[in-house]
C-alpha cells in the first residue's frame, strides 16, 4: 500500500462514527493477552492489522437497526469499533493469535524468545 492509499483508508474510517471497545490487557509469562468487547461483530466484519508495533482493531458490525420496526427506546447507538494499541518491542508480531467468541475478541501476542528479563551477573570485583 502506498502512503496515499493508507491516508485514504484512514480518512474513510474516521469519517464514520466509531466506538472504542472496552478492553482488558494482561501479561503472562509467555504472552500479552488482550480481550475486547465487540458485541455484534463476527469474523467477517473484523479487521486486525499489525504494522510495525502498532496494532489496530477495526470492526464494522451489521447495522443495529431492525428493518420494519421503529425505534421505541434507545440506549445505544450504531457505529463501528476502532481502537489501536502500541505494542512493546518484546511482542512477536508474526505469531499473533486471534479468536472471536460471543462478541469478545481475544488476542494473544506471544513474547519474543529470550525477551524475558535476564539477570546479568556482574563479573569482576574482589
Amino acid at each position: 500500500m502506498n502512503p496515499t492509499e493508507a491516508l485514504q483508508k484512514t480518512e474513510t474510517r474516521s469519517a464514520k462514527k466509531a466506538f472504542s471497545p472496552r478492553t482488558d490487557i494482561y501479561e503472562t509469562d509467555e504472552a500479552i493477552v488482550l480481550r475486547a468487547d465487540l458485541p455484534g461483530v463476527d469474523e467477517a466484519s473484523l479487521d486486525i492489522t499489525l504494522a510495525a508495533n502498532r496494532l489496530e482493531i477495526y470492526a464494522a458490525p451489521e447495522p443495529r437497526e431492525v428493518q420494519g420496526y421503529n425505534l421505541a427506546h434507545c440506549e445505544y447507538g450504531g457505529g463501528d469499533y476502532e481502537r489501536s494499541f502500541v505494542l512493546p518491542d518484546k511482542v512477536d508480531g508474526e505469531k499473533v493469535d486471534a479468536a472471536l467468541s460471543n462478541g469478545v475478541l481475544e488476542l494473544r501476542l506471544p513474547k519474543k524468545e529470550g525477551a524475558a528479563a535476564r539477570r546479568i551477573p556482574v563479573a569482576g570485583g574482589k
Partner: protein, 147 residues
C-alpha cells in the same frame, strides 16, 4: 435512561430517525454515565411495530446459559452474570475496562405481550428478545361509516 422500571412508550411509534439514538437520549445516557457508572448495564434498545417488540441488549462474553429472561405480567426482567478470567499468580494486569459480575434490569412494557410466544436469540454477544403483542393489544382498524 431507565434504571429500573419503565420504558415510557416502548411500543409507541417513534420519532427518532436512526442515526444512533436521538440526541436527547444520547445526552441523557452521557449524564447518567457520569453519575452512576454501574446502573444501566446492559444498554437496551427497543424496537417495535404493530405485531411485536424486540428488545436488544449487548452482552459480549456471555453464554446463553448465563442470561435469565423472565416475564411477569408486563414486566420483563433480564438478569445474568459474567465472571472475567481471573489474573493468576505471576500475571500482570495492565488494563481492566470490561464489566464483571451480576446485572439485573427490568422494564415495564406498556402493552401486554403473548408470554407463550416470546422468543430469544443470542448471536455474537447480542441478545434479541421478540415479544409478540397480545391479540387485544394489536392496533385495530376502525371503519368509519356514513349514516
Amino acid at each position: 435512561m431507565l434504571t429500573h422500571n419503565s420504558v415510557p412508550g416502548a411500543f409507541r411509534n417513534s420519532l427518532y430517525s436512526w442515526s444512533g439514538c436521538g440526541d436527547l437520549d444520547r445526552l441523557r445516557g452521557e449524564v447518567n454515565r457520569l453519575f452512576s457508572a454501574g446502573s444501566a448495564f446492559p444498554a437496551l434498545n427497543v424496537w417495535s411495530n404493530d405485531e411485536e417488540a424486540i428488545v436488544k441488549a449487548e452482552l459480549p462474553g456471555f453464554e446463553p446459559a448465563d442470561i435469565e429472561i423472565a416475564l411477569e405480567g408486563r414486566t420483563l426482567n433480564l438478569s445474568g452474570s459474567r465472571e472475567l478470567e481471573e489474573v493468576k499468580e505471576g500475571e500482570k494486569l495492565y488494563h481492566r475496562e470490561r464489566r464483571t459480575g451480576k446485572f439485573s434490569r427490568s422494564l415495564k412494557l406498556p402493552v401486554g405481550v403473548d408470554a407463550d410466544k416470546v422468543t430469544a436469540e443470542f448471536r455474537n454477544g447480542v441478545l434479541s428478545i421478540a415479544l409478540p403483542r397480545a391479540a387485544e393489544h394489536k392496533p385495530k382498524k376502525v371503519e368509519v361509516k356514513t349514516s
